[in-house]
């Protein structure tokens, strides 16, 4: 019995590895190799053309005292500060749509519309809207708020909040849709029972829906955090191109500009590695916190 079982398992394992081989090969080629290359080059001085020169920890030392990197990291953190809003606001809106308030179909379409636009298109629209003579200022002037008109992208004091707003607008519809998917599988009798007990909407949302959507909220939390740190490139590139100066740089934008515009591929690798380690640490903490009750 034991021998037969063992032979069966061996056979299963062989086929298992065989089936997994293509995926594993792809992962090694397109994740493992680039990651290894990133780690190696982060310890080198390399312009991408000549042979890399091993310089040990020099790039990381530079990183610690690099004001542009520091500023880029701060910007990422500012973007990340909106994550709680990206988790909660779509939840509330999804609940209103789920309750089928008047016009819910229209709202659902409107909320989701930005999510189907390419991020490049969103960025270009934003850069037009936020110009000094753009539609935003035109509207402000038209409603008598001329004093609020501003060259929104001329200073980081306004351009960073504007980018945050644009990213929030572009992503929240997608999060609403995810929540709606989650709400659709919650037993409606739970809400009906709560209503009979006299619960109001806020209580139903926070005490019934939110706990039942915990897994969905975890997904939204993690994806929003990752977006804040690693998917801001297109928005920054199209809206401000990192400017004025370096004021709207993010770490990934800085890695790109160091690698390809400034030909410092070694240093760019160090920036990329630092970003990856930071994101891994944040992801690890998030997962530990979210799963603490299960441990």
């Amino acid at each position: 019995m034991s021998l037969a079982n063992s032979a069966l398992r061996r056979s299963e394992a062989k086929w298992g590895f065989l089936y997994a081989a293509p995926a594993m090969a792809f992962i090694i080629a397109f994740v493992g190799y680039p990651l290894g290359s990133l780690v190696y080059h982060s310890f080198t001085k390399w312009d991408g053309l000549s042979e890399p020169k091993w310089i040990g920890l020099h790039n990381f030392g530079t990183l610690l005292s690099d004001p542009v990197f520091r500023n880029a990291l701060i910007n990422n953190c500012l973007f990340a500060l909106t994550v709680p809003l990206q988790v909660t606001v779509p939840l509330a809106l999804a609940y209103l749509i789920h309750r089928q308030l008047p016009g819910w179909r229209w709202f659902r379409t409107m909320f989701f519309l930005p999510a189907i636009l390419s991020t490049v298109v969103v960025g270009l629209i934003a850069s037009l809207v936020l110009q000094l003579k753009g539609p935003l200022n035109e509207v402000l002037s038209a409603v008598g708020l001329q004093s609020l008109t501003h060259d929104w992208l001329a200073s980081s004091k306004t351009s960073i909040p504007m980018i945050i707003l644009v990213v929030f607008w572009a992503n929240f519809g997608y999060n609403v849709l995810i929540y709606l998917g989650g709400m659709s599988v919650i037993d409606p009798s739970m809400r009906e029972a709560a209503l009979i007990d006299g619960a109001r909407n806020w209580t139903i949302l926070t005490r019934i829906y939110a706990p039942n959507l915990r897994r969905v909220m975890e997904l939204v939390l993690v994806t929003s955090t990752v977006t804040a740190f690693a998917y801001m490139f297109t928005y920054v590139y199209t809206i401000t191109n990192g400017g004025p100066g370096y004021s709207t740089y993010t770490t990934e934008f800085y890695a790109y500009s160091q690698a390809f515009a400034s030909q410092n591929l070694g240093y760019a690798s160090a920036v990329g590695l630092a970003l990856m380690l930071l994101l891994s640490a944040i992801g690890f903490i998030q997962i530990r916190l979210l799963t603490r009750d299960e441990r």
Partner: protein, 454 residues
């Protein structure tokens, strides 16, 4: 995946080997061949010997020609040269790719191409600091130039296409063939000047500021400025340097013997910020792209714009005989104050890993000859560096730029310094003009950056 006794892992080793071999094979495929491809081209391709076999050559265009979209004057010129090339090389074709207009984008694309060895057969890139850093990845063209009778002497402005920015009359290492020159002219709208009561174009810095006041009083933006990427400030300040510098100073900045935060470089930037503080530029100057400044000007919303010569035909079409051009009024009174800073704008290069080098060089010879130069003048109004073509010019605006290129006092700073320094420099001077930092702080930062990279 394994049993507690570990048997599967032991007996499954051959499968691991198969998997590992498969992964390695895929890895090698993903990495691609990094072998030297130069053997695919005849080693003596520049000797002018046998006619190369027909092929499709890949042509990359950057700089102003990065905007050579279908229908544009740039494209019209390049299409004319392609048509000539295809007639002279039956069966061959040219595939055009545009690298864009933004210097960051261009540098990114070139670095990626040279690093991955996925290169074109021929590329038109900025001369000087945008060419020499890639010298290790470019084909040295001396043999081809030497074997083409009269080629070197027929073209001017070679220095920025050679190692150490010195062609030594053709004896230096040549990496590119220059196409056209660049300096900046202050284009102005004669009708708006007349409307503001400005009798003649301003010749001094103070009269320029006075003209600003008059133009503002009639509701016109005096000077169109598109400085999101620092290019407008660069255009202005690079000409201002010549009013304070001495011959050879730009070279000294490049080799580090003259600091970026020397007063010869800080003072012009300080003076220039007066355009902002006096309201001479459009209020959104710091967030509009350089090309937006052209739109302000051609639409009649702005009276002046400092721009390179390649926009001449575009401006002439928009403004007709209302268009004028003058030298930029400068603030300094140095020995070269009355002279112009100018140099070669762009050059054709052949990457070392190009596949069709012989055909590529044929294309370069054709695109820099007298016929091509003449059409550069007629289609774009751009100052060709082909001497015979330049001599035949009858476009008055182009003549202004050709005069400046005859004996420039200095090269343009950002044409000479390495591209990575230039990209940092643009951002700092942009910040200084916008008022976010002082000119002194901006140039201190550039100096520090350059020293670190040197």
């Amino acid at each position: 995946m394994t049993t507690p006794n570990g048997r599967i892992s032991n007996s499954g080793r051959p499968w691991y080997l198969v998997l590992a071999a498969f992964a390695v094979a895929l890895l090698l495929a993903a990495c691609g061949s990094t072998g030297d491809t130069s053997s695919s081209a005849a080693p003596d391709f520049l000797s002018g010997g046998a006619t190369p076999a027909p092929a499709t050559i890949k042509l990359w265009l950057s700089g102003q020609f990065g905007a050579a979209t279908p229908g544009s004057p740039y494209r019209q010129w390049i299409d004319a040269q392609i048509s000539r090339f295809q007639q002279q090389n039956p069966g061959s074709k040219v595939e055009v790719s545009l690298l864009g207009f933004d210097n960051d984008q261009i540098a990114a694309r070139l670095t990626a191409a040279f690093t991955s060895k996925q290169v074109p057969d021929v590329a038109l890139i900025f001369s000087g600091g945008y060419t020499t850093p890639y010298a290790a990845s470019l084909t040295q063209l001396n043999q081809g130039v030497d074997n083409t009778p009269g080629m070197y002497d027929s073209i001017g402005g070679w220095d920025l296409s050679c190692a150490a920015l010195d062609c030594q009359n053709g004896k230096g290492q040549i990496f590119g063939v220059p196409l056209e020159g660049v300096t900046y002219g202050l284009f102005y709208n004669k009708a708006l000047f007349a409307q503001a009561g400005i009798a003649e174009p301003p010749r001094t810095w103070q009269t320029l500021l006075d003209a600003c006041t008059r133009l503002k009083s009639i509701g016109v933006v005096p000077i169109a400025y598109g400085d999101r990427d620092g290019y407008s400030t660069d255009n202005w300040v690079t000409l201002m340097y010549s009013s304070l510098m001495e011959s050879g100073d730009i070279g000294r900045v490049n080799d580090g013997s003259l600091a970026y935060n020397d007063k010869k470089l800080v003072e012009p930037l300080q003076t220039l910020t007066q355009l902002k503080t006096n309201g001479c530029v459009n209020p959104d100057a710091s967030t509009r792209e350089n090309s937006d400044a052209n739109t302000y000007f051609t639409s009649g919303k702005a009276a002046m714009v400092l721009m390179y010569p390649q926009v001449t035909s575009q401006f002439q079409q928009a403004l007709g005989n209302k268009l004028g051009v003058m030298g930029m009024p400068v603030s300094g009174s140095g020995p070269l104050a009355q002279n112009v800073a100018a140099n070669s704008n762009d050059n054709f290069v052949i990457p070392k890993d190009a596949v069709n080098k012989a055909l590529a060089f044929n294309f370069i010879k054709l695109a820099t000859d007298e016929t091509a130069g003449k059409s550069l003048l007629t289609i774009l109004g751009s100052p060709t560096l082909n001497k015979a073509a330049a001599a035949s010019n009858n476009n008055p605006i182009a003549a202004f730029f050709l005069d400046g290129l005859k004996d420039p006092a200095l090269p343009l700073l950002d044409s000479v310094i390495p591209v990575k320094d230039a990209l940092f420099y643009y951002k700092q001077i942009q910040q200084a003009f916008s008022g976010a930092i002082t000119p002194q702080a901006a140039m201190d930062a550039v100096d520090q950056f350059a020293k670190t990279n040197r």
